[in-house]
């Protein structure tokens, strides 16, 4: 009967504690309240720490620069010049942390919209939170095709995704064949095995097969632990393809090029899917061995020659941060502007004082938004979202590293600054 006595005493204590807590909570609840709309908060979840912290910082610069421009030009005019304020959450590169941060920004910071989150896995969970809380999310830089295949109503993506890029790869190879006499018939694929590499490889297989090319070999590898690529390159070499498609991160991209040279592997062309191949440390490391490799890109330094608006923005950007805009910062810069156009529209219909209504208005504004290409700094035809929230007017470009050690845009022709070098010279014929 010790039990009964012990419990009744415990129960009493418990009740006391519960009452104290509820009273305290109620007292705290009395405080708080809303103020006037002087600013519009936008949440941003990015990898600000972790292995991608460097990229995160880069993206953050792009976002901040755009916000400064917009605020300096008078803020959101339909809301009486309200300023945009970015509130950050750090995903540390982890999907579950990103989701928790998104919740904090939405419920604690009361943001009207969300931007981010770079890695597709994090964007998946962050967008899910937004969808649940009915907060519009604008994603400027994640390229996993599945993101816009989920039927979400509150998710919008400005950048083209990996399948669109793969389709564009086919266009590019068709164009090469037309120009240089059908030299490419067989194709091999090598990719790292995270979602990005795998999805890209799958899309390549699908679209190149549809276009009548023959896929002779697909090789995947685990980038995190790769210490040698001899066997991988040898399997490719044995398949003897005309074209090799590569989806690699930095370290494996470097290893790929070095090993290809070492094993004297000479396809007629190597076409990469940006990532590792456009990383500054890749460019520095492989040096002249990287010449004549094609890469798909979203952005390139020489685009300024064709896009006057970009030339100006980049000049100011470089003056402020000391670096040029790149594919990441330019896309996030663009993302903020697109969101701004939608905010102007939404401001005509609702006020952020009523958060729920305003978020809805913003979503509708995004869904109906059209931004023409000449208002952007990207090599796109414009911004217009389909019912899944995917921008259908975006496109990539194809660049090739030339003898000056720099990438030059070679495709599509309206943005090209140089003709392609094809086929690429054999290793033995290089100086």
């Amino acid at each position: 009967m010790v039990w009964r006595r012990g419990l009744s005493k415990s129960l009493l204590a418990a009740i006391v504690v519960i009452i104290v807590i509820i009273v305290a909570a109620a007292a705290l609840m009395m405080q708080g309240g809303g103020g006037a709309v002087k600013e519009v908060k936008v949440g941003v979840v990015l990898p600000l720490s972790g292995k991608l912290a460097e990229t995160g910082a880069d993206l953050k610069r792009g976002l901040e620069f755009a916000v400064e421009e917009i605020n300096a030009a008078g803020g959101i005019k339909s809301l009486g010049g309200a300023k945009i304020v970015l509130v950050y959450g750090d995903s540390a590169g982890k999907p579950e942390t990103g989701a928790a941060e998104a919740e904090r920004l939405i419920t604690e910071e009361k943001v009207v919209a969300m931007l981010g989150s770079y890695q597709s896995a994090v964007t998946k969970t962050v967008s899910e939170v937004c969808e649940r809380y009915h907060v519009p999310m604008l994603n400027p830089e994640s390229t996993s095709p599945t993101l816009t295949a989920r039927g979400y109503k509150w998710f919008f993506r400005t950048t083209p995704h990996d399948e669109m890029f793969a389709r564009q790869h086919v266009d590019f190879v068709n164009w090469l064949n037309k120009k240089y006499g059908n030299q490419i018939k067989t194709i091999a694929i090598i990719h790292e095995d995270t979602e990005w590499g795998t999805a890209t490889a799958r899309a390549w297989q699908k679209y190149f097969t549809q276009a009548g090319y023959k896929i002779v070999k697909v090789v995947s590898y685990h980038a995190a632990t790769i210490t040698s690529m001899d066997s991988e390159i040898d399997t490719l070499k044995a398949a003897n393809p005309d074209l090799v498609l590569v989806a690699s991160y930095v370290q494996d991209a470097i290893l790929f090029v070095q090993t290809a040279k070492q094993r004297d592997f000479n396809p007629k062309a190597i076409l990469a899917q940006d990532a590792g191949f456009i990383n500054p440390s890749y460019v520095k490391q492989v040096g002249k061995d990287g010449f004549y490799i094609f890469s798909r890109e979203v952005f390139n330094w020489d685009l300024g020659q064709k896009i006057p608006r970009l030339r100006e923005v980049n000049k100011r950007y470089k003056a402020k941060y000391g670096v040029d805009l790149n594919g990441n910062s330019a896309r996030d810069y663009t993302g903020v502007w697109v969101l701004y156009y939608a905010l102007e529209e939404a401001g005509k219909k609702a006020s952020p004082a009523n958060l729920k209504e305003f978020r809805k208005a913003l979503r509708d504004a995004l869904a109906n938004l059209y931004v023409p290409g000449d208002k952007l700094i990207m090599p796109w035809k414009g911004v217009k979202f389909d019912s899944n929230g995917q921008n259908i007017l975006g496109q990539g470009i194809v660049v090739q590293m030339m003898g000056d050690g720099k990438y030059h845009t070679v495709f599509p022709e309206e943005f090209a600054t140089a003709p392609p070098v094809f086929p690429m010279p054999k290793w033995s014929e290089r100086g």
Partner: protein
């Protein structure tokens, strides 16, 4: 489909990278054999070696090969310090305390380095990085070949040290019977300092060697530590020379299974092999049974 020349190349490439695995494994085997302590932070001491080489190269322009003594000495000193401050205190503690302590070291070194240097990947570009030799269809990258030769040299020097010098013999005596060695007048405590210093120092040489052709980053030790465990288990625990041979076997297994099975599963093959070996022959291929 896969020709014989490719197999030859895979084998050679496996031997070259395997010789580096060997060095990390040898260090682990030495510590394990002498003190019966598993140093979970072994791969992270190797990472320190890589970073010493990296800084010597970037700040002072020291060629990575010349920084081998430096990288060895720095980690040797850190090893002795670790032994004095940490390992000594847990030598007779229950296994869980030993493992916890070296795991704590792992977390502190790895993430301390990450906090100090940033999580980024670095590389050294030595001028001879892309010198390539070709023998028939087999091609060799100079840095990898150098790594192989140096690791062979280190292993041989280590062998001679253990077999012929007084200190080496004393070390072996301590590993066989701590009490007897003590009664013979050997300063067991100092031998342990030496063992831990040497053990992590040798792994750090491996770190210096990989730095000439592979990326350097604070978390790199994780992968090499796993490989080192496989190497030690394979070679027989406490068997330093078994570790050398088995490092090379692991390297070859990986590159050949990448050729025939799938590159993305080559680590799975290595890990499965590892579990299989401890189940079937826990003493390893070259070791003797010990309880």
């Amino acid at each position: 489909m896969v020709g014989l020349d490719y197999v030859a190349n895979a084998v050679v490439s496996g031997i070259l990278i395997g010789s580096v695995y060997s060095l990390v494994g040898m260090g682990l085997a030495l510590i394990w054999g002498i003190m019966d302590v598993i140093n979970f932070a072994q791969g992270d001491f190797m990472m320190i070696g890589s970073f010493v080489t990296y800084w010597a190269f970037t700040l002072a322009g020291v060629d990575p090969l010349l920084s081998i003594p430096l990288s060895f000495l720095v980690t040797f000193a850190l090893g002795v310090l670790t032994q004095r401050v940490v390992i000594e205190r847990v030598l007779d503690a229950p296994m869980v305390s030993q493992i916890t302590a070296t795991f704590a070291l792992l977390l502190m070194i790895r993430y301390g380095a990450e906090a100090a240097f940033g999580p980024y990947t670095r590389r050294i570009s030595v001028p001879y990085a892309d010198v390539i030799f070709r023998i028939g269809s087999v091609s060799l990258q100079l840095p990898r070949l150098v790594a192989f030769i140096v690791s062979l040299g280190v292993a041989l020097a280590f062998y001679v040290f253990l077999k012929t010098t007084y200190t080496g013999v004393a070390l072996r005596a301590v590993s066989q019977n701590r009490m007897a060695a003590y009664l013979m007048g050997i300063n067991v405590r100092k031998m342990y300092w030496l063992a831990f210093g040497l053990g992590v120092g040798i792994s750090a040489v491996g770190g210096t060697l990989v730095a000439t052709f592979l990326p350097i980053y604070p978390e790199m030790g994780g992968f090499y530590a796993l490989i080192a465990f496989i190497v030690v288990v394979f070679g027989g625990f406490g068997s330093v020379f078994g570790a050398y041979i088995s490092g090379i076997i692991i390297g070859v297994t990986e590159s050949v299974s990448a050729l025939f099975i799938s590159p993305s599963l080559k680590d799975v093959v290595a890990f499965l092999l590892f579990i299989l070996i401890i189940l079937v022959k826990p003493a390893g291929l070259f070791g003797t049974e010990q309880r």
